[in-house]
């Protein structure tokens, strides 16, 4: 038996609220490099809040608990610093940014991260060859790069654009927030194969989803069920299958 690798992400008793409403009520989770964790749960269970809190969205206030990322206090970092440290959130609802070209946006992001690490920035030509390579992963046309960020993109195009960004920024911890929502089966396949191509022994993933469907394409190592702001059950892939059959009704019972 190999000794387990040091945890990449350690969440301890995390509580968070928006306004007066407490949403996360004590999340505990441990993620090691190379692992893919699925987080499943009914609507309003706190899945998306967890992903937003990890990425640093200031709308949510952490009231209790701790998040360690590579042994450091993640919650003390600004969103851009978390990104520079290797955290990436694929948004459930990618934001449209009129007036900012997709290519310009992505190069600005990559170079901001590189600058922070004292690395040489990519010029337009080098970036173009990089992006051409990465676009193949999600079967994206170069025409997307000259359009404003997500503006007028279909649901599937937006999600593919998220995975493209992930491929370019090459994160250590990728959080996919309901990446399957609103996708037809073809788009789901493309997105999932893009994600699978990015699976790596040094990269961990949190795959947040309502449905088991996505997990037929992205096979998780662990499955957690979240309800009422807490993880109520953890297991392996079989747990996802079980949920598919039984639904979330029992989970609602387990909260009590």
């Amino acid at each position: 038996m190999m000794t387990p690798r040091a945890p990449m992400l350690e969440i301890r008793g995390l509580h968070a609220r928006v306004g007066e409403k407490e949403i996360l009520k004590g999340i505990d989770l441990l993620v090691r490099p190379g692992e893919v964790h699925a987080i499943m749960g009914p609507n309003g269970s706190g899945k998306s809040t967890l992903s937003q809190v990890l990425a640093g969205r200031e709308t949510f206030e952490v009231t209790k608990g701790q998040v360690l990322y590579e042994g450091k206090d993640l919650l003390a970092l600004a969103p851009e610093d978390r990104a520079a440290e290797g955290i990436f959130l694929a948004f459930q609802y990618p934001v449209e940014i009129p007036g900012v070209g997709n290519m310009h946006f992505l190069r600005t992001a990559l170079n901001a991260v590189k600058r922070k690490h004292g690395q040489e920035e990519l010029d337009a030509m080098d970036f173009l060859s990089l992006i051409k390579e990465k676009m193949k992963l999600v079967e994206m046309d170069q025409a997307f790069m000259n359009r404003p960020v997500n503006e007028g993109f279909s649901g599937g195009e937006k999600k593919r654009n998220e995975i493209l960004q992930m491929a370019v920024l090459d994160p250590k911890l990728a959080i996919l927030d309901e990446t399957d929502s609103g996708l037809d089966i073809d788009a789901l396949r493309i997105v999932a194969s893009g994600v699978n191509a990015l699976r790596h022994s040094d990269r961990a993933m949190l795959v947040i989803t309502h449905y088991q469907r996505l997990l037929e394409y992205i096979i998780p190592d662990f499955v957690h069920v979240i309800a009422g702001g807490r993880i109520v059950k953890s297991g392996d892939r079989a747990l996802a299958k079980e949920l598919e059959k039984t639904g979330y009704a029992w989970v609602e019972g387990a909260r009590a």
């Binding site: 709308t59 600004a78 946006f105 337009a124």
Partner: protein, 418 residues
């Protein structure tokens, strides 16, 4: 001296007195803008200066008429590339018949105190004529430089006439080579023949001590098109007016504006569209970016007269406040006296989108850079409509200085050429 000009000056002076001199904030049209400081400064007419002027920073185009402290500079002007049928001349040198035909025809001294003031000081300016069916292929720049050695005022007048089917691109560029205070009071009169198309840009890049009042008055014949691009970037106090009148059917008028205020800048804009003929289209997009303690004002008047059926008018004004002390006023004024018309207007004052900021930051873009990126994107809608690339770049350069960041379009242009 020209007897006609003397008469214009005299009646301008009388009109200014009759209106009670400079307007006050008690007058509706000047409610948000106090021009009293202009009256308190003892502005003199500038004295001629011999010292050379360095304009390299302005990166002027190959076809230009340059005025230094209101005086035409043959040395700095360059007009040899103008095609046949296109004339750019000094107002002081144009034959009286042309002046009588164009001067005071659209801009009425008795209707506007600053137009009256301009008329009463009338001495210099530019006259651009494009003959019927002629296309002025290269963009024309009219450049007004204030040296502001003494508190000086200039009152340039620009007269533009496009014949039937003629086309031209004209930019008026206002800048200073010294601090100030100084006062520019410009009046532009535009007359468009049937089917003519004019792209007009006003790049207001005045120095920090400048007071700038400028108005453009256009009369559009049947099926003519005016596209106006106003950039209010400099001056401590600026008032820009654009007024267009449809004299014939099927005309089109697009008014675009961008104002970017910082510190204590006060930037006021007024547009007036007179839909007096049926079947004309007007489009207006004015945007403001206000930081520090600056204030932006936009008043958009649309007048659809009786009988102007099938009028299609749309107006939009959006202001972005970057600080808590900045403020914006927006006043649409729609008067509609025809029933079969489309008139839309929208005004919004807001801050940078929180979600978009988070999205950018979550990709590693630092807060200040994310703010600059979104702010430049907000301006982009207006900037990208400027038809001449060098004018666009000049605006972009000022925006980079004032707001930081760069835009996708300039970055991509760089990508294409590298």
């Amino acid at each position: 001296m020209n007897a006609f000009l003397d008469a214009v000056r005299r009646s301008g002076g009388i009109a200014f007195q009759r209106m009670g001199g400079l307007p006050t904030t008690r007058q509706e049209a000047w409610r948000w803008t106090n021009v009293a400081p202009i009256g308190r400064i003892p502005f003199e007419l500038p004295r001629p200066v011999e010292a050379p002027v360095d304009l390299s920073e302005l990166d002027l185009g190959p076809t230009r008429a340059v005025f230094i402290d209101g005086r035409w500079s043959p040395f700095l002007s360059e007009l040899s590339l103008l095609p046949a049928g296109v004339r750019v001349r000094s107002l002081a040198e144009v034959e009286p018949a042309v002046l009588e035909e164009l001067l005071g025809r659209v801009a009425k001294a008795e209707e506007h105190p600053f137009t009256a003031l301009n008329a009463s000081h009338l001495a210099e300016g530019a006259v651009l004529e494009v003959d019927d069916g002629v296309e002025a292929t290269s963009p024309i720049e009219l450049v007004f430089i204030s040296r502001a050695g003494v508190p000086a005022s200039t009152h340039p007048r620009v007269l533009v006439r496009l014949g039937a089917g003629a086309k031209a691109q004209v930019a008026e560029i206002y800048a200073a080579v010294a601090g100030g205070p100084y006062f520019t009071n410009a009046v532009t009169e535009v007359s468009l023949g049937e089917g003519a198309t004019l792209e007009h840009a006003r790049l207001q890049l005045e120095g920090p001590g400048g007071y700038h009042v400028a108005s453009l008055w256009a009369a559009q014949a049947k099926a003519s098109t005016l596209r106006s691009h106003v950039f209010s970037l400099g001056a401590q106090l600026a008032r820009s007016e654009v007024s267009a009148r449809f004299d014939g059917e099927g005309g089109r008028c697009e008014l675009h504006g961008l104002y970017v205020g910082q510190g204590h800048q006060h930037l006021d804009h007024r547009t007036m569209l007179d839909h007096k003929s049926p079947g004309c289209v007007s489009r207006e997009v004015y945007k403001g970016i206000l930081d520090g303690k600056s204030r932006g004002v936009f008043t958009g008047a649309v007048h659809v007269r009786e009988g102007a059926q099938k009028t299609d008018a749309a107006q939009s004004n959006k202001a972005l406040l970057l600080s808590e002390d900045a403020s914006a006023e927006a006043t649409p004024q729609l008067q509609i006296f025809a029933d079969d018309v489309k008139c839309a207007h929208g005004a919004a004052v807001g801050q940078l989108d929180d979600q978009a900021l988070f999205y950018l930051r979550s990709r590693g873009i630092p807060l200040a850079q994310a703010r600059a990126l979104l702010t430049r994107a907000f301006a982009e809608e207006v900037v990208r409509r400027v038809p001449v690339q060098t004018w666009q770049q000049r605006v972009e350069a000022v925006l980079s200085r004032k707001l930081g960041g760069e835009t996708s379009s300039t970055a991509e242009a760089g990508e294409k050429t590298s």
